[in-house]
Symmetry: C2
Subunit: 335 residues, 2 copies
């Protein structure tokens, strides 16, 4: 962390799941995005995730001038220096480890650095935010958190229910993350987080990434940049400016059948609309101030305008995530 920063902000986005392409990777580079936590699993089992890793290996090979796989905080600094973007693998669900705790280490070895313990529904480890009731972390969940702590894979509770999230914060011996969600004091969506959860997260040294997915925004697609940055300022007051960052949840160029798959996977015969509805079943329109990786500069402007100083803007845009990655990725006793 003593490395000199260049004059521009280091930008880290703690969640994207776009329809990956050369054009998007170029936007990452041109937008100054040093690192993106890219989702490589929503519902996939182990073998299906392996196929996704193979897919990414081909992308890394083909677009080696734009992207590479990031597994450490040093990789993010290298990306910044080289003008490239480090892609960090993460799971939005624990489905790839199936019912085998031994697969956690296998996935870590393949570079996976984040795993959500549940995605909307009950998992073998924790409860999702759409279940009626939340019994907290399961017996297997306690074992898996311990294993993730040992290896240095971040527990992500973005789509989990409140009690499970509070228990994960408590049980985990290393700080956890909510990579992409907003506070419910600002907009009371089922995916957004209560003050109790956010305060507990902040006190434990965890990180919250602010989402720009319209269903998590006040006034949804019509949310203004000023409203968004105002929410960030209030959250900084609540949990500390050192515990917040961006997790845009950008799903650029994805067709609507992708959000249908995210919601339904293979768990239901009846159709589930999640945060959408029969009337609005597809992806909502992005707010006009955040449509691609070129738009982080607008957020930086908005943060300055709302009154954050340069150091605070740097923290929110990427330095907080960088520090979090440094202490979270890999074994705790690595130094």
């Amino acid at each position: 962390m003593t490395k000199n920063k260049s004059h521009t902000s280091l930008i880290v986005d703690a969640l994207q799941y776009s329809n990956w392409s050369e054009s998007i990777f170029r936007q990452m580079n041109n937008g100054g995005v040093a690192a993106v936590h890219a989702t490589i699993c929503y519902h996939e089992d182990f073998k299906e995730v392996i196929n996704n890793v193979i897919y990414w290996n081909r992308l890394f090979e083909r677009y080696s001038d734009l992207i590479f796989q990031g597994v450490s905080s040093d990789d993010i600094l290298k990306a910044k220096d080289d003008g490239k973007t480090a892609i960090i693998f993460g799971f939005q669900n624990c489905s790839p480890i199936e019912d085998d705790i031994g697969l956690v280490e296998i996935c870590y070895s393949l570079g996976v650095r984040f795993m959500q313990l549940s995605y909307n529904n009950q998992s073998l480890l924790a409860t999702g935010c759409y279940e009626n009731d939340d019994p907290g972390i399961t017996r297997m969940g306690r074992q898996v958190i311990k294993e993730m702590n040992r290896l240095g894979m971040v527990v992500d509770m973005s789509h989990s229910a409140p009690r499970s999230t509070l228990e994960a914060i408590q049980i985990s011996e290393r700080p956890i993350a909510i990579t992409h969600a907003n506070p419910s004091f600002w907009y009371d969506a089922i995916r957004n987080k209560s003050n109790e959860v956010l305060i507990s997260l902040g006190e434990s040294g965890g990180m919250l990434g602010f989402s720009m997915y319209p269903h998590h925004l006040k006034n949804k697609s019509e949310c203004s940049l000023e409203e968004f940055c105002g929410m960030i300022a209030k959250t900084a007051d609540l949990i500390g400016v050192e515990n917040i960052g961006i997790g845009s949840d950008l799903c650029q160029n994805q067709p609507d059948n992708i959000v249908e798959w995210m919601r339904n996977g293979t768990w239901t015969i009846e159709k589930d609309f999640g945060e959408g509805s029969v009337e609005i079943p597809g992806f909502p329109k992005q707010p006009n101030w955040f449509r691609s990786n070129l738009d982080f500069i607008k957020i930086i402007g908005g943060l300055r305008k709302i009154g954050f100083n340069e150091n605070e803007v740097d923290r929110i845009d990427g330095m907080n995530w960088l520090e979090f990655f440094e202490k979270s990725f890999g074994p705790a006793n690595k130094k």
Copy 2:
């Protein structure tokens, strides 16, 4: 059901997981056991269960003079007539359907007629009896129960937690089963069932199979036949003699590493002892009056001695299960 019964009782055992062999199949035949619900899954995923089906297909081929696969109540009557034993497939866990509801019908097509919604731990569908808290049937669980009802695969809640069990009884449009457990009013083991659960089960037309696994017995391996039959008499008073049968949980000739695998699967790194302990980690000794399929005759004797009439003994020994299979296996509107 109008078919003439022969002069001896029709015996059905609603749960066994033995180290299958010609000798055990001969004991089934010689003990007059017309049908056994055989566990083909504790922790296996879909492909692993397929391997178990292939294994059973080889057994059916090799020992066709002793056993065959049973998928309907008619098969049980045929087994009785032919002096053979019908083997009915069942899962003690929902792991074979993984996270894919479409696999329920695939497993039904392969002859699976029972599936537990959880085995000790939290599953994607329901909570197991060893978890600290029980939030009831999950979102996926509701979908899967509906699918099992449609197909005619029995919901089995033997290893599930109380609230999940009560909700399964309520949600399922067809009667469910607790194939192997005893009442906790008799012996308060974590796997035994409360009066609330048993009464709800009986009122819904469900079935309880009495277990002779020592950890479910008062005085464990030392439990007497009289105590066991006395418990059956009290349960008949509580929920009706038409809702009870045998589910012996016989694990004949199994080495101790099998019970270790049942308890630990691949979900934990720390060793779990389940109903056992560090001191007694293996299979407990069977009570001296029930050690193989030759011993059902002793139970029949015990039931007569405790005061059940012949019709009641017949019901408990097999006719109740036969009637339950008739209404439970296959589509509800099949006739």
